[in-house]
């Protein structure tokens, strides 16, 4: 399927709170899951190192 990511893949999760600068009132929230296709063993190893540098289990 076109919307199915290549596997394996790395996953990045973002949640952004957008606040009005003048008074910090919350005006928007977004949550996104983004994937990075890992096409080669080197890509997988690079992602493993990246995740490890973030301290993710």
């Amino acid at each position: 399927m076109a919307d199915t990511p290549a596997r394996p893949y790395g996953l990045l999760w973002f949640t952004i709170h957008c606040e009005r600068g003048s008074d910090k009132v919350l005006i928007a929230i977004t949550t996104a899951a983004r994937v990075t296709p890992l096409a080669t063993p080197a890509d997988v190893e690079r992602w493993r190192a990246f995740a490890a540098s973030l301290g993710s289990a």
Partner: protein
């Protein structure tokens, strides 16, 4: 092609035909973007537009996201980083005729925030780490009074390991 009433929408969906529900809110500027009220055009007939009996499902999701702080939780075993930064509003590009931050620019704001978060994460900068969009949920509430000079982002991010297979 239109769906004549909300009750018939499931039949379209079951047949594989997507349905779209659009909402419009008309605002009237009183003194400026700081003081707005919901209005209705005087030269339009809305009597044939049926009112819905219940709030759209998205309303509940948005309220839950506001309470939880996100639309869906981070991956299991992922360490979450919180980063904060400001984003300057460009009055020539980001503001609409009513003086409000243009709603259609928010996706671009989010993309900017994610890129800045990526750059600030430990270990970021690898040339092969170039995330592509997979899924996003977003809601914008009230941007009245947001005429600049900036909006602030608080971005939480995490990465999952091992990769999904």
């Amino acid at each position: 092609m239109g769906v004549p009433d909300p009750e018939s929408a499931p039949r379209f969906i079951e047949a594989g035909i997507p349905t779209i529900r659009l909402s419009n809110i008309f605002i009237q500027q009183e003194l400026g973007p700081e003081k707005l009220r919901i209005g209705q055009p005087s030269n339009a007939d809305f009597s044939k537009v049926p009112a819905i009996r219940e709030a759209p499902e998205g309303h509940v999701r948005n309220r839950e996201a506001q309470e939880a702080g996100h639309f869906f939780a981070p991956p299991e075993r992922a360490r979450v980083f919180t980063l904060a930064f400001d984003h300057m509003i460009d009055p020539d590009r980001d503001v609409n005729a009513a003086g409000l931050v243009y709603f259609a620019n928010f996706p671009a704001f989010f993309e900017v925030a994610e890129r800045r978060a990526m750059a600030a994460l430990p270990g970021a900068g690898s040339p092969r780490i170039s995330p592509t969009a997979a899924a996003r949920s977003a809601e914008r509430w009230d941007s009245s009074g947001t005429r600049g000079p900036m909006i602030s982002f608080r971005c939480e991010s995490s990465a999952r390991w091992p990769p999904s297979r």
